[in-house]
Subunit: 298 residues, 2 copies
């Protein structure tokens, strides 16, 4: 008899697992250069929703055979290193110039700008170092490394950032906005799902279904972000509300209106859920995560 799947317990366990893996795989504070290692830990261990590791672990649940927990943990840490580095660099004065992140001073405020630059750079190297050192099939490791490099590079996250910078104050079509978000945030979310699927040794058809899921989820994530930016207050949001509008950044809400955006989020959740049918009850965590993304702030 199988035990029933309890999502809150699952979430809690995976979040703890992520924090523990980060603690284990990041260089220790006491290892020189001490200040840099302290700042790297400060950046990566500052909390956050850990949505990428959760997606990765949830995809790992689809495995039909025994799968390597170490490989999942390493991939979770690697993707959080990339995510954390992108936040550290985003917060710099030449980018978003943010003083606070997750309720604490940003890295360049807690340390200094030059250190923040190096923290981001070194966290990115760390991600690939960790993936290369996993004890599993070499071809799986290479797939993880290639996927993460593409998802974070000029045709993924960094490229989306570049397009975002250029679009401030400009008229942008809905299609271009979607493309920008697909690169800026979608690529890394999709990569988390793909990494989980590759470690779980899923076949090509299964990975394709997961691509539909993660693309819908990535877009939903951004649409809901825009809705919250337009409707929630700063306290609920945990960051400055109305910031996009104030910075004259195009959003789903400013381009298409609030009703359209809310409708779109629900539609995307349906697409994401439908793509998981072939996995049956094993996909329960992925289904719950899609709901969680769409219902954020409600």
């Amino acid at each position: 008899m199988s035990t029933p799947f309890l999502f809150p317990q699952w979430m809690k366990a995976q979040s703890e697992r992520t924090e523990s893996a980060l603690d284990r795989l990041l260089d220790p504070n006491k290892l020189p250069p001490i200040r840099l290692h302290q700042a790297m830990r400060y950046a990566a261990q500052g909390g956050g929703k850990r949505i990428r590791p959760l997606l990765l672990y949830a995809t790992g649940e689809l495995a039909e055979c025994e799968l390597s927990r170490d490989a999942l943990d390493a991939a979770a840490v690697a993707i959080e290193c990339i995510h954390a580095y992108s936040l550290v660099h985003d917060d710099l004065p030449s980018m978003d110039n943010d003083d606070l992140r997750r309720g604490r001073p940003t890295v360049h405020k807690a340390f200094d700008e030059a250190t923040a630059l190096l923290v981001g750079d070194a966290l990115q190297s760390k991600a690939f170092e960790i993936l290369a050192a996993i004890e599993c099939d070499p071809l799986v490791r290479l797939d993880l490394i290639h996927s993460l490099a593409v998802a974070s590079g000029s045709r993924g996250m960094a490229g989306g950032q570049a397009i975002d910078l250029e679009s401030v104050g400009k008229t942008i079509e809905l299609q271009d906005l979607q493309q920008m978000h697909a690169m800026k945030t979608g690529a890394l979310l999709s990569c988390a799902v793909r990494m989980g699927g590759v470690i779980a040794h899923l076949n090509a058809a299964q990975l394709e279904q997961l691509t539909i899921y993660s693309q819908a989820l990535g877009l939903a994530f951004q649409v809901v972000d825009d809705i919250l930016d337009a409707t929630a207050d700063s306290q609920t949001l945990g960051k400055t509300a109305g910031k996009d509008a104030a910075q004259d950044k195009p959003t789903y809400v400013t381009l298409m209106g609030l009703d359209y955006a809310q409708q779109k989020a629900l539609e995307l959740e349906k697409i994401a859920t439908a793509s998981l049918e072939c996995f049956g009850s094993k996909a329960q965590a992925l289904r719950e995560l899609a709901l969680l993304v769409v219902n954020r702030g409600k």
Copy 2:
């Protein structure tokens, strides 16, 4: 009958090979995001001595069997992507605040600061993407990726930078100065040699000899840099002379005097050359490169 080894011709051929590989493996200018890809090419194709690719190709000459030219080219481009990204980030206002690099405006001057930040980030991802996609033994690829990640991360290049930042205006011991340079510049030079050796399928004993070579070479490189900074004029140097002293940065010359530094450079060249004995005439290019490093500016 073997043809005699002619170093100038060899240098010219490998330099051309590096430029051609960079042109082939970097994303094209016309691929969106266009401005980011243009800036990445601007950063990586701006010339320079290409000492890291030359070391890599020279080590490739030690191979006792047929070796993959594509693998060497990919590794050469990957290491230049890392080197180029480090220069772009170094030149930023929060670091060295340089307006010129290789006689042209630095990336943040030719484009803007936010773009320069993203160029560095995306060049780093590109390096690992290229290595993961080489068509060769998966374990060779993983060794290349792991070596490059460690050499460029917090225990290598980025860590050396962090120590350098902290040491400005402070009293520093010779040993700490050496450690800092071993990380900041030595790690990537050694990595170039190691990557060439791994692609050439050298054995562990041979790789160990090459480590002696590359560590001596890396240190010699820095000692000669310090000598030139203290003695050459800006025109010969191609950058501002006397900058280290002006910035109150400790150097071999300020710590130990010019005579000691000159003696040290010659000693290191001897160590480097002696470590190559076991390779016989195949190591001619590596020998010539060591001489080139020590005789720079003469």
